[in-house]
Symmetry: C2
């Protein structure tokens, strides 16, 4: 046998499937566990994100309690409990002990989690660093189920160590998860308190209690209104990929192309459908499954050429301008607040919506770089700021136009906080750890537009403020010389000095405002 053949056969013998858990066990940094400080934050984040999603889903006002206790030099016990709908008994082991398992991946609807990786990743990290099982306690209102489980990484299946049930007289529902993990605890900058503080800004209807190693932090709810639950939608034809279209054609339950377009997509009416068929040179009565490669491609091209209205917004749950302003006002002592919610847009068939909030002046440091709060589907992003589409969009805006210093390829300098919320049925994160948004051009464009819109409003305020100050200065200057001037005029004209003074004061007031008005108009024309 030739050497190549022997090598090929040896390699063939070694070839096998790799379980997704084994993959993330080796690549735990992809999930946010590259160091023990970040690990603790990631665990808390995964638990809290799931709790908020669960409560949203059931329309429950969230009550979340997170407890973190140091139990060794570099070891912590983390407990997170919510009052959500809970998980039915049979699914508990899989929801926590199997990766790529969940209810949110296959639907188009805004939610915090989607991947079915987050919380099982936390359990994976826990067992990797401490060798101990996780404890999951849950009830949907009936019996309380208590599981101790680990992940069998070779199989990517839950391995249940124990399962006991408790009676539930109080009809408690929710999830409580207890983990031990290696960690390092900090409270400043990128930290659990900071993550919870920003979470509270974007989720003011949540009540969150944090029992940390140095005491308790409470984030009270500032509203009792649960945001309207977003609706699941069909994909929008814009930006849908040919490969996805072909799979949809092969798997649809519809009998003809007309029904396929109108039922399996959003925003295709009968008139648009007719237009598409004309462009694609296809009969509307054709069976979807019967289209060959070339015909599918024609259909695909035509879908992009027809004018369709934007996707419905009810699959999205924006923060709203009001809430952004309130959230910033609660946290920051600034002079001016402005928020902008853009109309929804589409990338790769996925609807998304961008919101921006700015806080300016007051206690904010005028000489430091602007502070950036990034959110994706109401979840604060604390890491990987420099590789995030939000940061790159902030850097790409010309902040000098709005009166800020703006060093090349960085954020502007000034007394400014910039909040950006990206809401989408599918957030394209740069890694499974979900800390930065990928730089898709369609997304960057919308973030920039929102920033510019808010920037213009802020600039107007700053300008008016500056004009008011200038006017004030001018007036003070004139006023200082009025008595002297009036004295001279009085001698020349033989009129009474006091009436000259009040006349001069009148002139200054009127002239000042006339000047600033005309300047303002000129400046706006320049923009």
């Amino acid at each position: 046998m030739a050497v190549e053949q022997r090598v090929a056969e040896r390699m063939a013998k070694d070839m096998k499937e790799i379980s997704i858990s084994e993959f993330f066990e080796k690549n735990r940094h992809l999930l946010g566990y590259e160091n023990s400080t970040k690990a603790l934050i990631t665990i808390v984040k995964e638990a809290v994100d799931n709790s908020l999603d669960g409560c949203d889903e059931a329309g429950i006002l969230p009550n979340i309690v997170v407890t973190l206790k140091q139990i060794g030099v570099d070891r912590f016990k983390i407990v997170a409990e919510d009052n959500g709908p809970g998980i039915v008994e049979s699914k508990i082991p899989f929801a926590f002990g199997k990766m790529l398992f969940g209810s949110k991946f296959h639907r188009l609807k805004q939610s915090r989690g989607t991947q079915g990786i987050g919380i099982s990743g936390a359990i994976l990290y826990s067992q990797l660093t401490t060798g101990k099982p996780a404890k999951i306690i849950s009830s949907t209102g009936g019996k309380i189920h208590e599981f101790e489980l680990m992940i069998d990484t070779v199989q990517n299946e839950p391995s249940v160590a124990s399962h006991i049930t408790h009676t539930n007289k109080e009809r408690w529902h929710g999830i409580k998860i207890e983990l031990e993990a290696e960690g390092n605890y900090i409270e400043r900058y990128q930290s659990i308190p900071e993550y919870l503080r920003q979470t509270a800004i974007a989720n003011p209807y949540a009540h969150i209690v944090y029992n940390g190693p140095n005491g308790t932090l409470k984030f009270d709810r500032t509203t009792n209104i649960v945001p309207k639950q977003p609706k699941e939608i069909k994909p929008h034809p814009y930006g849908i990929e040919l490969g996805i279209l072909r799979r949809m054609l092969a798997m649809t339950r519809t009998k003809n192309l007309r029904a396929f377009l109108m039922r399996d997509f959003t925003r295709v009416g009968s008139r648009s459908a007719e237009q598409i068929f004309r462009l694609a040179k296809l009969e509307s009565s054709r069976k979807p499954k019967s289209l060959d490669a070339e015909e599918s491609e024609r259909l695909h091209k035509s879908l992009q050429m027809v004018k369709l209205i934007a996707p419905p917004t009810n699959c999205l749950s924006p923060l709203t301008e009001q809430l952004i302003e309130n959230g910033l006002k609660k946290e920051l002592n600034a002079e001016y607040f402005v928020a902008v919610t853009r109309p929804p847009s589409v990338y790769r068939g996925n609807p998304f919506q961008v919101e921006v909030g700015l806080a300016y002046g007051g206690d904010l440091n005028p000489n430091s770089a602007a502070i950036l709060y990034r959110f994706a589907n109401k979840v604060p992003l604390l890491y990987h700021q420099s590789s995030c589409a939000i940061t790159k969009s902030v850097e790409a805006v010309d902040w000098k136009r709005y009166g800020f210093q703006h060093p090349n390829s960085s954020v502007p300098v000034g007394p400014l906080v910039i909040l950006v919320h990206f809401a989408s049925v599918w957030v394209p994160f740069t890694s499974e750890g979900k800390q930065a948004i990928a730089t898709y051009p369609a997304i960057m464009k919308d973030i920039k537009l929102a920033l510019q819109d808010a920037g213009r409003k802020l600039a107007k305020f700053v300008r008016q403020k500056k004009q008011a100050r200038d006017k004030q200065l001018r007036r003070q200057l004139f006023e200082r010389y009025i008595p002297e001037l009036a004295g001279s005029l009085s001698k020349l004209t033989k009129k009474e000095k006091n009436s000259i003074i009040s006349n001069l004061e009148e002139i200054i007031k009127a002239g000042g405002s006339r000047i600033s008005e005309s300047k303002k108009i000129k400046k706006e024309k320049e923009e």
Copy 2:
């Protein structure tokens, strides 16, 4: 039924497994397909990396031909062929049409690919953007097998459209892959030619031909020696995680702890084993499976406390200092070249080795930021430079000590090319697209040490060059005044002018070298 229960049951019904192919279909940016320019580069990279790995594995001098042809406005046909060992018939569909499938994931040995994701990712992107199957032709020397296949993303299984066989009179072996994909072609900066050029630097034994849209590029091999094939090793006890240790204890075939430590790990001899057992207060005759959680933890701690020699280097295949210098000399017209290969080190139980090459002066621009070539297991990294451990290490070194300008948190400025090669049995990439190395502290530390070592050598050269120039200038200055001075001295002393001139010249020569010697010693002490 309470609302929570209804919601929980509805959610339970929606819960299901997510296939890894579906996951990457939605998250194709994780694999390097976030835009159509990068997509073409990624496809070529995945094919070439696999070809080089295959040839290495069989000890074959690689002949690789890549052809890229534009066949539509934004559509390309990519063909990549090698002379490697090929893949046995039964495994072809899985190696190309199933994600997380491969021979390299479970072993500890340096190779370019490891994840079993790369080439199937290219096929996934191809079918997503064109809806067309990929063609795979392979032989191990017997019959030639030709497959047309796609990936069934719902199942993560290959879907074979056709399979035909050809006779193979010439006993060809290798793999040829043909894909169509959406793309955008460029030839500058981050591009296919640049990727191949850097690949040729790190793989001088490979012959690579590239038939691009604008003509043919040839990269001839500069050596006929295939690097020694690295050996598979057992894990090293340093940095191994408790969870992994517990799994190893549960799954080992050894009968007692003594055999477990000595056979399932590298670098544990009988003396180290005894030491470990003493520290862990465990009997060496204990059955590995019998250890409880607490005992495993004691064993784990003790493993980290015993002094063990570094892991064997034969699992790694460094470029070598010689090859780095040759590679840089071939590509760059510089004045001075230096290379440093560090001794191997360990992170999380994985051996790794860092190499650095510097090229200085000559045609390199003295006023621009240093150019950085990053390599991981001989593969050039073109993207995500700012988030890579290599870049962060370069930024963290104090280049001012080596005579360079060094703006805060960026690369140094000067006529400098910095090449860094990170070789490991497991490279912790920041995403599946494998373009940047995660910032593990142990890795950053070793890269910095290698950079500092090379930096000191370079600084010595730069200093000597500067001293030589200073000396030269000094001499020229003195020499200009010697005749005049000698004339005056001659008049004063009544000695012959010419002999005074030659005496003065002697003094200048000796004095010059004495001065520069003492300066040199002083400077080195400062370091």
